[in-house]
């Protein structure tokens, strides 16, 4: 059964990756907004923001990478929704295949698509003067955190993908996720924020993840903050996954 799960997932993954290579516009539109924000904040607002030492683009990139992922997973929900609507989902479910592989193929596709978008955004940031003192190990840790963050948001995206009634509903859920980094340490240090906002900003997941990425990029030893970041990611991932599976079971039984 597990052997079947892996081979079925591989076949279905091949299918949805082909969807991406045939409509590369989904990758391009995913990266447009984060790149536009990067340009806007670095060249328009950045000069007026007091963020400490170093270039602002280097300060900003971790938050922009999280926004890239948040806008990318809207397509995951959309692709899943399209499958549900078209009847091909029912065909898969009526076939002798491992049922979980239908979902996993979409989840892994989401990881691949987001990694491509992230590479594009990092390249643009490099052109704009982003520099990192991180070694190979630190880059791998960055990649690991970003993949974990993608998985976490993807499992959240699976829920509307399975249960949405319309195309509008399926992508609306990602807007709050895109704006969450604004109330965090992603754009400005949190210490200028007024009391309650600051409390929220300092205790929401984005800030700890952004801070961990920033430390890794700058080649500094990561503090205990990275454990907070990982705990948020894993915790939300587990909750989102179980909600997604409940939704899935409801849809297929």
């Amino acid at each position: 059964m597990t052997k079947r799960f892996f081979s079925d997932t591989a076949v279905l993954l091949g299918r949805s990756l082909r969807h991406i290579t045939r409509s590369p516009d989904t990758i391009i539109t995913t990266t447009i907004m984060p790149i536009a924000m990067l340009l806007l904040f670095v060249y328009v607002f950045g000069g007026a923001i007091k963020h400490g030492s170093g270039s602002y683009v280097t300060y900003l990139l971790p938050g922009i990478l999280l926004i890239t992922i948040a806008s990318g997973i809207a397509y995951t929900a959309f692709r899943l929704f399209t499958d549900m609507q078209s009847g091909i989902f029912e065909r898969f479910q009526s076939m002798p295949i491992a049922r979980a592989s239908v979902l996993w193929a979409h989840v892994l596709t989401s990881v691949v698509a987001n990694l491509i978008s992230l590479v594009v955004v990092v390249l643009v940031a490099l052109l704009m003067g982003f520099r990192s003192g991180a070694g190979v190990a630190a880059w791998l840790e960055v990649a690991g955190i970003l993949v974990l963050f993608t998985l976490m948001l993807t499992w959240i995206a699976v829920i509307p993908g399975l249960s949405a009634k319309s195309t509008d509903g399926v992508s609306a859920f990602s807007y709050p996720l895109i704006f969450l980094p604004f109330i965090s340490s992603a754009f400005v240090p949190t210490d200028t924020m007024p009391g309650p906002v600051r409390v929220f900003a300092e205790h929401q997941p984005v800030t700890s993840i952004v801070n961990a990425l920033r430390d890794l990029f700058s080649g500094q030893p990561v503090g205990t903050g990275i454990w907070t970041a990982l705990a948020w990611c894993v915790g939300i991932l587990v909750v989102a996954h179980s909600f997604a599976m409940v939704t899935y079971r409801r849809r297929i039984s």
Binding site: S7, R15, R18, H19, S86, G87, S94, P96, I97
Partner: protein
């Protein structure tokens, strides 16, 4: 008597919230025959098909497909059946050939490419094989859909309103395919709201009405339920269908 039936349904019940869709559906389908489930929109035909193809769970009753209990052995049921749903279940982004290969791979068959080419030939889709399915006509899409359902030689095929939305020529093509299937020993359960479709294709016809099968028999038996035919002499006018085919030709 029922041991040899390809599909065996007893006391099937299903409600959506307060709405009782099926209220004790019972029927048997003989191996290698075409069985038509007739009913108006919302009669519950699709619900019956979804339950038998393990996509939905029944609230009560039992059903066996090819001897396997759908509630206890759903995985074995999925090995033997194939479903062609109401909406063509094809991948629009892939080509026709890629769609067939996809299904062959998921059924773990050897040489998916050869299987695909063979089916493309059988369903006159060879010329369109490399084209994206989104460019296909409704009839081509339906043919591809049915072709995908035949991969792995399932012994029971469910066709849910296979000709809804098709033009008359595409409809006749689908009919030809269905007859051919039954000729090869495949059991076909099809649902339709077109009476002539059931008349043309089915060995047995059942009418689903208000959640129950109200009649079940051959066409001849169904006709006997009405008073005997009266002999009347009327001028035979060509039907619009006759005119249509005379004009556009029916070369198959």
């Amino acid at each position: 008597m029922t041991a040899g039936a390809a599909i065996h349904v007893r006391g099937l019940e299903k409600s959506y919230k307060e709405l009782e869709v099926l209220r004790g559906v019972e029927f048997d389908v003989e191996r290698g025959s075409i069985f038509a489930l007739l009913g108006s929109n919302g009669a519950g035909k699709t619900t019956v098909v979804k339950i038998l193809s393990t996509l939905l769970k029944a609230d009560a009753g039992e059903a066996r497909v090819d001897g396997f209990d759908i509630a206890v052995q759903p995985a074995s049921v999925r090995e033997t059946i194939s479903l062609t749903g109401q909406f063509a279940a094809v991948d629009e982004v892939l080509s026709g050939r890629e769609n067939l290969i996809l299904v062959a791979r998921l059924r773990h068959l050897d040489d998916p490419g050869a299987i695909a080419d063979d089916l493309l030939e059988r369903f006159s889709l060879t010329d369109a094989a490399a084209r994206k399915v989104s460019t296909y006509s409704g009839g081509m899409r339906r043919r591809l859909d049915i072709a995908m359902s035949l991969i792995g030689n399932p012994s029971v095929i469910f066709l849910d309103e296979p000709t809804t939305g098709l033009d008359p020529q595409a409809r006749i093509e689908v009919w030809r395919v269905v007859k051919e299937l039954a000729g090869h020993g495949t059991t076909v359960l099809l649902t339709t709201q077109y009476l002539d479709e059931a008349e043309h294709l089915a060995d047995r016809i059942a009418i689903l009405h208000e959640g129950r099968i109200i009649v079940n028999g051959t066409l001849g038996e169904l006709k006997q339920l009405l008073p005997p035919a009266k002999v009347e002499y009327i001028e035979k006018q060509p039907t619009l269908e006759d005119v249509f085919f005379a004009l556009v030709g029916t070369d198959q």
